[in-house]
């Protein structure tokens, strides 16, 4: 039984007046995650928008103890914290419930720079949750292309549109055969909450990727942030699923209908039209071919998923 919005806890881990842009998907996602994790958790952050918005010593915008670490080291640093806590518990210096260790990393620190440490931590099956909030670019430094940037998207380093496709990070993590992983969206906070609660209860390495539309980076109106995240799910750009030990065990939200019944994806054109980063192709004669290409890509991803399902 999925949690209802009304039943989400009122406790906030993100405090108002932080330095994030208005309509920041990172703080929005972190709110839902914090409600699920509860107060007993330790946060690790690599350079990202979240670090820029969390404030300067001695003030901090989050209620968790947090460590700012090097860009490439999310997996290894979190593993170090976990081992230290385990050692403390073994020596009897840490009593009671073990804190949940989690990382809060952008797509740059996951797909590109942090990939080696992430992959190694997954292979060691270290006991923490790796969160990736995926806004499909290095937004903190002024929107440069990352491994998560989709083809044709304009960034400051791809002014004519990116020519390569993005990596499929969730499938890469699926093949690490970790105990639990999930993809989520800021537009489905209750679904995200349930997934984090589930991850918290599982021992071993957990990976959760949250789709996060960035309005200065993608160039759309700030009020449409949640709407675009929802359109991404409905159109199949962002598929919501959970996997355990290398097999997909659960599909949620509109993804279920899309994959199981083969229903046509809805709102793909609206999703792409709303974003300034695709305007150069959406207003050209290449529009139809581009739309067909994106839809074919979505269908291909769904076929890949079907082969890995064990529901």
């Amino acid at each position: 039984m999925a949690t209802r919005i009304k039943d989400l806890p009122a406790e906030e881990v993100v405090l108002s007046g932080n330095g994030a842009c208005a309509s920041c998907p990172s703080t929005l996602a972190l709110r839902s995650v914090g409600k699920a994790l509860g107060p007993n958790a330790i946060m690790l952050l690599t350079p990202s928008c979240t670090v820029a918005s969390m404030g300067v010593t001695p003030q901090m915008a989050f209620t968790y103890p947090a460590m700012n670490i090097c860009f490439a080291t999310a997996g290894s640093s979190a593993a170090g914290v976990v081992y230290a806590l385990e050692a403390q518990a073994m020596k009897g210096r840490l009593q009671g419930e073990m804190p949940t260790v989690f990382t809060w990393i952008g797509d740059g620190g996951t797909y590109d720079i942090g990939f080696q440490a992430l992959s190694a931590a997954a292979e060691r099956n270290d006991n923490f949750i790796f969160f990736c909030y995926n806004n499909e670019a290095y937004s903190n430094t002024g929107v440069q292309r990352s491994g998560a940037t989709p083809a044709y998207a304009v960034t400051t380093t791809t002014p004519g549109g990116k020519t390569e496709n993005k990596k499929n990070m969730p499938l890469l993590m699926l093949d690490h055969r970790i105990p639990y992983m999930a993809t989520a969206s800021v537009a489905y906070p209750a679904d995200l909450y349930d997934k984090v609660v589930k991850a918290k209860g599982i021992k071993g390495f957990k990976y959760i990727e949250i789709f996060a539309p960035c309005y200065p980076g993608w160039k759309f109106e700030s009020k449409d942030m949640v709407k675009l995240a929802r359109l991404a799910v409905r159109s199949g750009i962002n598929l919501l699923w959970e996997a355990e030990n290398g097999y997909i065990t659960h599909l949620s939200g509109p993804t279920k209908a899309l994959v199981e019944t083969g229903a046509a994806p809805r709102g793909l054109e609206e999703y792409l039209e709303a974003q300034g980063r695709f305007r150069h192709v959406m207003t050209s004669e290449k529009k139809e071919a581009f739309l067909q290409g994106v839809e074919a890509g979505v269908r291909e991803e769904m076929e890949l998923l079907k082969g890995r399902m064990r529901i």
Binding site: V14, L15, S16, A20, C21, S23, L28, M60, P189
Partner: protein
Amino acid sequence: MLEIRIHGHGGQGTVTLAELIAYAQMKMGRHVQTLPFFGMERRGAPVKTAMRLSDEEILLKSQVYKPHVLVLLSEGLESGAVQQGLHKQGVVLVNRACVAERSGENVAANVPGCNPSVDAWGIARACELVLMGQPLINVPMFGAVSRLLGISPQAVTESIEYKWPAGSEASVRAALRGYEEVQGLEGLPDMARWIGDAAELPTEIPMEIPVELPTELPAALKANRITGVPAHPVSFPQKGVSGQTGTWRLERPVINKDTCTSCLLCWVFCPEAVIEKETLDIDYTYCKGCGVCAEECPAKAINMIREGE
């Protein structure tokens, strides 16, 4: 040599405004510097850009600390930080919305010199100069600054056409309206003489606003009682780490409690956590005005109302 500082909020185009002024000045054969201040340029956060104009080569390469002209694009800028170092006879050009009742503080009123103003918001709206939902107020402001600095309307038009070769008609119209509609020019000093001759510049001591430091430090930051060494730099959760972020807002959400169905979607989708779950009260001190709550409200019970109205 004249020094200008432009204050605004991220996304309003302070850097572009400085570029436009620079193009126009270069067309008049002057030397120009534009000095964007690099910090964390987040959408909505206070940002600043400075400029130097001279008839001779500019050898000074530092930031501008004692500007002669302030250009304020936005309301809700923190009073002290904005006026810092302004010459007492300096000129403050404000976007009229800037003189808003909201903060209860009129930055320009504290300055004895000339205070022209222009309704850049209204002009940008009227000329349909809106991008991603935000009126491009820097373009009408460019027209107004040009009037102050003695730039010809011809140079204004040419600069905009140079910056945006395609589709510049609305921008030119907005800039020229800003040029015409700037008010309060009585007592405006001769800027061309300020730019050309250092001897003509006002010499009075600039305004100095003391920077307030926090008086109460958290216990962990105080020196260790025994060793005298300050404790580790530990941070503490606190609201408002970036100040009163409500000043970033251009429009504020207002919940109509009569049509509200208490579905809590506004609460759950607020990226800033400013909506109270039980009462649905909005904390306007920190609400950044992104508009997600109004967009997501299924009952359409939340309206976005322009600040100052």
